[in-house]
């Protein structure tokens, strides 16, 4: 199993999912209750989702203004996690408090810091500006998968699987056939994998959204900010159409595919996905096509990963893998995840 890297930011939800209804999510095994304050700031609050009284999940309670009332016996918490009311008595025990998690809401995503709160640096949250920025239209969703989060990282770092698992939808023979380049930025914890196809068949995902008929120049540039954020910069144009020397690229279609890979518990991962485009931005038909097709593609991966995890679980220990050139990026990502997990291991755990 892939070790969880602590002391990192993780996407817990879309901003649109967090409002005046309590939302429960489990991140790196930690159950968390989310809500948005009613004051003008509308800030996202993230509290440990277990009441100090009898451990009832606070996400099953209700909001009273900006305080959270436990749904079992009414212990009431403010946004810092301090208990401010208990039923039937005036004295609130001094130790009555739940943890409040550092939160950043940015680019339409709600990020939560898992680890030592004092180490949380909001500037370290990686950006996905297209998700909320001008010039882009996005569709998005989230699917829980019953697999080790490392299997989802493997899946996304090696897109040659598009040819086989997603044949016709986003895969064509050229994807698996075209060599990749891989770059690892150690300090920043970023893995880049690029595959530039000069002359490729146009799969239905791009044919139906762009209207291109015939063959395409197709570039896939992956940027994986370990552990959570995965960006796939996709550029599609009729064969031979290249960006201008000054970098402008008016005749190509750009699609930003975003994933947030958030480990929920051992063997469970949240698969957040989004597709952003810079063309046909107000065309509802294109929106529908991209949402439906991408959901289909994501579910092909979800089904495969659920099957793969069950197969691995049923196997006796010592089953061997065999890596080939297509795995260069995935292997780099695994190694960075292992390093981050080691760095994030609490000192208390280290000495034990």
């Amino acid at each position: 199993m892939t070790a969880f890297p602590r002391n990192q930011w993780y996407v817990a939800a879309y901003g649109s999912e967090v409002g005046r209804e309590l939302l429960g999510r489990t991140v790196l095994g930690e159950p968390i209750a989310f809500y948005r304050t009613a004051d003008g700031a509308g800030e996202v609050v993230a509290l440990a989702d277990r009441c100090v009284h009898r451990r009832y999940p606070l996400s099953q309670g209700r909001l009273d203004g900006d305080t959270l009332v436990c749904g079992y016996h009414g212990f009431t918490y403010d946004r810092t996690g301090a208990c401010v009311f208990v039923p039937g008595q005036k004295r609130v025990p001094r130790t009555a408090r739940v943890a409040a998690y550092p939160v950043v809401e940015q680019d339409s995503l709600v990020w939560v810091w898992i680890g030592e709160p004092a180490l949380a640096d909001p500037r370290a949250v990686p950006r996905a500006p297209h998700l909320a920025g001008p010039g882009w239209t996005s569709v998005s969703g989230m699917e829980p998968v019953d697999c080790d989060f490392g299997l989802l990282v493997d899946n996304l770092l090696d897109l040659s699987h598009e040819t086989y698992l997603h044949g016709g939808y986003i895969g064509t023979p050229e994807v698996a056939e075209t060599p990749i380049t891989t770059e690892v930025d150690e300090g920043a914890g970023i893995v880049r994998v690029s595959r530039h196809m000069d002359d490729a068949a146009c799969p239905s995902f791009y044919a139906r959204s762009t209207g291109i008929e015939g063959r395409i120049t197709r570039w896939q540039d992956i940027e994986y900010h370990a552990p959570c954020l995965y960006l796939l910069h996709s550029r599609v144009a009729p064969v031979g159409v290249l960006p201008n020397p000054d970098g402008t690229d008016p005749d190509a279609f750009h699609i930003e595919i975003t994933y947030a890979i958030t480990p929920s518990a051992p063997g469970k991962v949240y698969d957040f996905w989004a597709v952003s485009r810079d063309f046909a931005r107000d065309d509802p038909e294109v929106t529908t096509v991209l949402r439906d097709l991408n959901h289909t593609v994501v579910m092909q991966d979800v089904d495969a990963l659920n099957i793969l995890q069950r197969a691995l679980d049923a196997e006796p220990a010592g089953g061997q893998e065999l890596s080939i050139n297509i795995d260069t990026g995935g292997l780099a990502a695994r190694r960075i995840l292992a390093r981050l997990a080691e760095e994030g291991a609490a000192p208390a755990e280290r000495v034990s």
Partner: protein, 52 residues
């Protein structure tokens, strides 16, 4: 996180038309391998065996 962005970049190119991988360490050393496991083993051994 240690270091800043761009401090240490490793690069591996799959040479078109071949099954070979060509690696370049941040120190400038180069290496050709047939298999990515071996490539990363060489790369991460830096500076051992990285005489350019």
């Amino acid at each position: 996180m240690s270091g800043g962005p761009g401090t240490e970049v490793f690069r591996v190119d799959w040479l078109p038309g071949t099954d070979l991988l060509h690696g370049v360490c941040h120190c400038g050393a180069e290496h050709v391998a047939q298999d990515p496991v071996e490539m990363w083993r060489w790369m991460l051994a830096h500076p051992v065996g990285h005489t350019a």
